[in-house]
Symmetry: C2
Amino acid sequence: MGKGHKKWVYLFEEGRADQRRLLGGKGANLAEMTNIGLPVPPGFTISTEACIAYYDAGGKFPEGLEDQVWERMSVVEKKTGKRFGDPSNPLLVSVRSGAMVSMPGMMDTILNLGLNDRTAEGLAALSGDRRFALDCYRRFIQMFGNVVLHLEHHAFDKIITARRKSAGVDYDYELDPANLEAVIAAYSEHIREATGSAFPQDPREQLRMAIQAVFASWNNDRAIVYRTVNKIPHDLGTAVNVQTMVFGNLGPDSATGVLFTRNPATGEPGVYGEYLINAQGEDVVAGIRTPQSVAAMSADMPETRRELERLCETLEKHYLDMQDIEFTVEKGRLFVLQTRSGKRTAAAAVRIGVDMVSEGLIDKEEAVVRFPAGEAEQLLKPTIDWERVKKEKLDPVKIASGLPASPGAALGRVVFTSADAVATVGEETDPKKRPKVILVRPMTNPDDIRGILAAQGVLTSQGGMTCHAAIVARQWGIPTVVGCQALDIDTDRKLMTVEGVTVRAGDLVTLDGSTGSVYLGELPLMEPRITDEFATLLGWADESRRLGVWANADNPGEAARAREYGAEGIGLCRTEHMFLVPERVPVVRRMILADEEAVRRQALDDLMPMQEDDFHGILRTMHGLPVTIRLLDPPLHEFLPHRDHLLVELTELRVARGGKGEGGAGAPGPSAAGGDAELSRKLEATEDLLGRVDQLHEYNPMMGHRGVRVGVTFPEVYEMQARAIFRAAARLVKEGVDARPEVMIPLVGIEGEIAMMRDLVVRVAEETMREFGVTFPYHVGTMIEVPRGALVADEIARHAEFFSFGTNDLTQMTFGFSRDDAEGKFLGSYLERRILRDNPFATLDADGVGRLMEMAILRGRNVREDLKVGICGEHGGDPDSIHFCHRAGLDYVSCSPFRVPTARIAAAQAAIKEERAKKGFKADDRGEK
Amino acid sequence: MGKGHKKWVYLFEEGRADQRRLLGGKGANLAEMTNIGLPVPPGFTISTEACIAYYDAGGKFPEGLEDQVWERMSVVEKKTGKRFGDPSNPLLVSVRSGAMVSMPGMMDTILNLGLNDRTAEGLAALSGDRRFALDCYRRFIQMFGNVVLHLEHHAFDKIITARRKSAGVDYDYELDPANLEAVIAAYSEHIREATGSAFPQDPREQLRMAIQAVFASWNNDRAIVYRTVNKIPHDLGTAVNVQTMVFGNLGPDSATGVLFTRNPATGEPGVYGEYLINAQGEDVVAGIRTPQSVAAMSADMPETRRELERLCETLEKHYLDMQDIEFTVEKGRLFVLQTRSGKRTAAAAVRIGVDMVSEGLIDKEEAVVRFPAGEAEQLLKPTIDWERVKKEKLDPVKIASGLPASPGAALGRVVFTSADAVATVGEETDPKKRPKVILVRPMTNPDDIRGILAAQGVLTSQGGMTCHAAIVARQWGIPTVVGCQALDIDTDRKLMTVEGVTVRAGDLVTLDGSTGSVYLGELPLMEPRITDEFATLLGWADESRRLGVWANADNPGEAARAREYGAEGIGLCRTEHMFLVPERVPVVRRMILADEEAVRRQALDDLMPMQEDDFHGILRTMHGLPVTIRLLDPPLHEFLPHRDHLLVELTELRVARGGKGEGGAGAPGPSAAGGDAELSRKLEATEDLLGRVDQLHEYNPMMGHRGVRVGVTFPEVYEMQARAIFRAAARLVKEGVDARPEVMIPLVGIEGEIAMMRDLVVRVAEETMREFGVTFPYHVGTMIEVPRGALVADEIARHAEFFSFGTNDLTQMTFGFSRDDAEGKFLGSYLERRILRDNPFATLDADGVGRLMEMAILRGRNVREDLKVGICGEHGGDPDSIHFCHRAGLDYVSCSPFRVPTARIAAAQAAIKEERAKKGFKADDRGEK
């Protein structure tokens, strides 16, 4: 029987973990579990070669296949003591497809294959639950009809719906055996009508048909499209896994449960899980019965408890990770149905990693590599204390859900304008005494910066992950949820409605910026702390990484936090926020609106001492470390009043004047004295201001008069800033502080721009050193953020000692996507349709933007060997992007202070993975694509 | 004397044309002229080696130099029969610097060196004009004082001004000999006071000092900076040219004049020029006496006339080009002072080129290479008929001057709004009967398109060469002047003022879009025609060029014109203009504002037949040639009403409502019946519309929801367009027309975008062919206009059969310059400071944008060998950019129909120059940098 033919069928114990190509991913896993001694329900795998042979033969089983199936089936029968098709003790199996790469569109699972009119009665007798057995049977028929016979769900649904109605019940599980029998009969009848053949009562025929269906599903439309899109070869074929069904509901010595080998919330060692006696998996999920803790299992099933304990050890020793398993006890016999690495919180991931190193299971590098770097930020933020919520039986009312734009939980009273936020919080600086507010806005804009700073959290109804609010909030570590479209915000009336609930200014809300959830009222929060384990893990990361990790910080407070979290420098200190301090705004506007250079110079002279103090503070905080200060970047009109406001004001004034003059054909009558003159004056002033704003107005401000273009046209502005920086440095040198300013010119795309600015900065530095009679180290460099900057990087490097990739703008211009517009209008569509795999503003686009960066680095270092290269866009804190930066040979990444730990870990992971790749070590030798 | 030393001094006849390095540019030219037998006033050149030796010796004349100077001077004395310093017949000379490369900042000319108190009297006697001789003398002292002694102009001016006052005259030439003597005395006194030494009366001392001054000027600050900026070596040194002065005012047998070897206005063969008997060059310029035509010279000076005739032949045979010479007759002896290639009109350039080929002077290729390609466009446009202006003694009143944005002259009545333009012109389509208007606007925007189309010419006070008005006008060949800042336009009152003149709506103006001049009233215009010579020249160009020349055309009229001018296809047919036809606008808005796909589809169904007719017309016109149709490109909000208008309207409505409800705290009283309801309805509708406009509003529309992004998010829009194109093609096939549509997807930067759109277009094409039962050839391609498109061109080429570089957008995004903002705000500064050499929107930026293009071509052809590559941005009609396109290996350029002849010539020039470079032939062997 089957002898002399190629081997098509493998018992689980005959396979190996590395035979993914032959046995598919699932088959190889089952072989692995079986071989390490886990009590996996027995079964066998039909190889992918059989599938290929099936196609080669024009859709026929290759010779020997069927014989080998029955041969292996008899082995399984022996192991289980059951028999396939035997009504007295029926062996039931599941049939699953299993390609090398998991793939949607292929045939789903068929459960309980082997049931027929007679074996169903056998199952009823064994379980003592006829309703259960008949329900299994009717589900099997439906599944078989659907996935093997390709009949639509719809027809089966219609039958059972009609039956529920006639039985007067709401749910399927309320149907009694008689009704289920009627459903089974109707299903069978439908199959006969639709296919012209009866539902196969012969289990062998059922299995043959199921195997064929799996083979056929390899080449269904959806699977072909998926493979084409994902570049998976079409000739791999799929394996078929046939496995014994086991039941946890065959009496008080049966059970079903799930467990983790360690606590997935805290990482504490020890088995952690729940189970239900005499139940099926779906009972646990349904939540009708309350499961018991596995920790307390000894009382009911002491032997199983001990067996599980041993199993956990085996599992961790083999998989070297915390595992999450599903198990079933059938008549006292333990079966493991599935095992996988368990999901865990960030805190648990730290604890487990560090513990496993001290237990000798893994080494430090492995602990670093495994930690989900992106989650590090959560460990620095308050979180909702769900344990307390549970313990205190609180009932959180979730009112909305948006995009998790800046992690951490926040609690406060709702305000609807930045002015209200500032007014409510007042001057109190002690974080414990400060009134806590949540700023709710349809969308934030640069005017809202002070409101965002004052708030505990920010919530908007519009915008995406990288909208203005999100960027600013992430920078300052303020928990934020954006794009919460269900909110209907009425700023005028100071209230918002959401699903019928009205939230007014002053109401309490809690929001979770890590998940995007918004809750009405107060939930308990847990304050963050950097645990010893986390510090240990970060230390290990530092041992491995090659990339430097710097931070973006605009003031001494942020700089101090960045240092605390391990930043080795400031990669981006923006100077525009310094211009937005309220008492400075009039001076800034005077500077911008100046008609003559003299007036502008006077305003700049007034601004200089303020800027000097700003830089003094940051440079002092970062003593001994470089501080990269970017000269003014945004377009000047950002500092002026909003055009819309002026236009509305002007129209109102015009209407007012028009009204007064009504009698006299537009000309004001002689009686219109003082008030009218005042009105005219106001009107004129507003017209004037609007005129100036209009002059400065830009069609595409992103690509307008900003950055170095301001420096070229008004060199006195950059000169003032350079002077303020160097004066601060000179003062610090005299105070004995090691100040290391690096002056960064934004938006450079042309050699002449940086050449001119470098000359200016160097001149000011030399003048200042002479004036103060001191010397200090400094460098002049540039952002690379317009595509041309990258294309002519060789020319630019002649005048720049460092490059810092401003990947936010570089991404915008390389794609031609205005971020603010793309996220609201079409980026969603692009991600949905998989035209883009990732949001390029969150994860660096290696194929496009990355290519430009590599080109810039190559060309730049060609001209200046020791060119220092960093990145200071949002991507500097994104793990995937950090991996790219490592590969591209950057010197450092710079990110918001809260992401510094993330960056330290991601940088280490990149280095370790590279090292391993060199050694030919594959981190994930299970090879999932 | 001087024997045994290196040769420092060369008589003109001792030098050669190729000794630019040794003799400087001017010296080599004088040698060349002398050697071909032109009667150049004799003289000699002191070599650049002498200058270098002078510096090497620390500022001393090298040994032998002075001796050689006097030696050569005596040869010159012999030739002229005059003697240096001899009062009875003084030899006077000019002294000029002459480096290898002409260079501002170096010493200017000194004329009449050799004059002193005694030789001045000699000159007076010879010329019989003492006033003239004394004036020469005082000018010489002033020049010498200024350029040799470095005294300021100012002091000399003060002296002569005081003298004019005391003499009671207005102009220097009114000073009589006595007064001039006084001036000379005062000048000399000033020199003695300022320098401590007297003005040198010894001509030899004068010459020594002048030579030294020329040497010294090589290293003055301005010259050094100029060399640094222009990368000219600092060690070349300058030569010094010493040449006999000749005088045309020594009696009735003397004269002075200028002539061209052919007519510079028409190109007609034959000597063309003017002269004055017994006069100096400045008399011709001063315009006090009317010069006579050289054609009529035979009567006065028959011998000179014949000599000039022979000279012209010699000159053209030697220089192989039309020459412009200055000549002087001194006592019957003819001298040529200067010869250079003569400036000529575009029409003359054509005629001369073609004539010279038939005369055997040059070959066809040379005729093509010489033609200034950029001027071809002028030959297709009306011009101001200056001959008639002169003949009819009209007095043109030029009121302003702006940027020449679109060539050609236009005449019409001023209108200040597009609506007025359209209303005035009405429905008349016969160009002869159409009322002629000039549209005057501060700045145009897309709403003005119909106004521009209706106008004869366009005039704006703002904007640059590539602002909206300029682009649209060039495309349609409408003469346009932009950025005419002197105009103060009051659109409300419908008038403009400029330098005190008020121009009202309805007044006539004439403007010249080739020069940027604006005239009050009517000037005679000359209609263009393609002459036989021009057709010949274009034919020769076609023989040489490799690049195809296509045109951008949006309607059948433009397409026909493009064909007429020689376009070989349509490279860009924009479809957005088709949406702006007034009767379609409501349908388009309905489509855009649709909440549901069904409503949108209905609107699209209404639009389709209109689009189909558009395409039918163009495809028919271009039968047998490809027509590249770009699917909808601009952001949708461009088709909606302007936000400002809505905001003003809304504010007015709100104020109106607020006024009515004043009594009742904002709530309308019960008496406010019908009018109020109407008001509320309007208010609500306006609020709604503003809300929709705001939803579609974009921060950076250039980088927003446009192009393929509209195609991805609303595929039904592109589907409608594709269907309209293919239905038109199918109908044409049935009509026996060879329709060749090429569907172009704009703004592609991601593989998935073009993959999705290609699928859609191919599906529609196949459906349409099936429906009509015909086949037609078609291609699907893409614009490359976002930088990422170029970076991943390999991926994109998998789905695109052609690339067309949209260099307008590509330039914007590569530089990060929004054109509309850059031109008004900082581009001027950049060009002034030479941070940019050219406006990158006019001339393709080869270093940055060009690098991206080359990369795209390489990557694209790597994947698809027969990828067709073109360009359809504004640069497609710019000669320099066309040269780049040729080098980069493009298949074709596409430009506005009026630029097609320019492109044909430029493409040929690029090919010829490449061919010559291969052969080592240098087109300009005079080697000017």
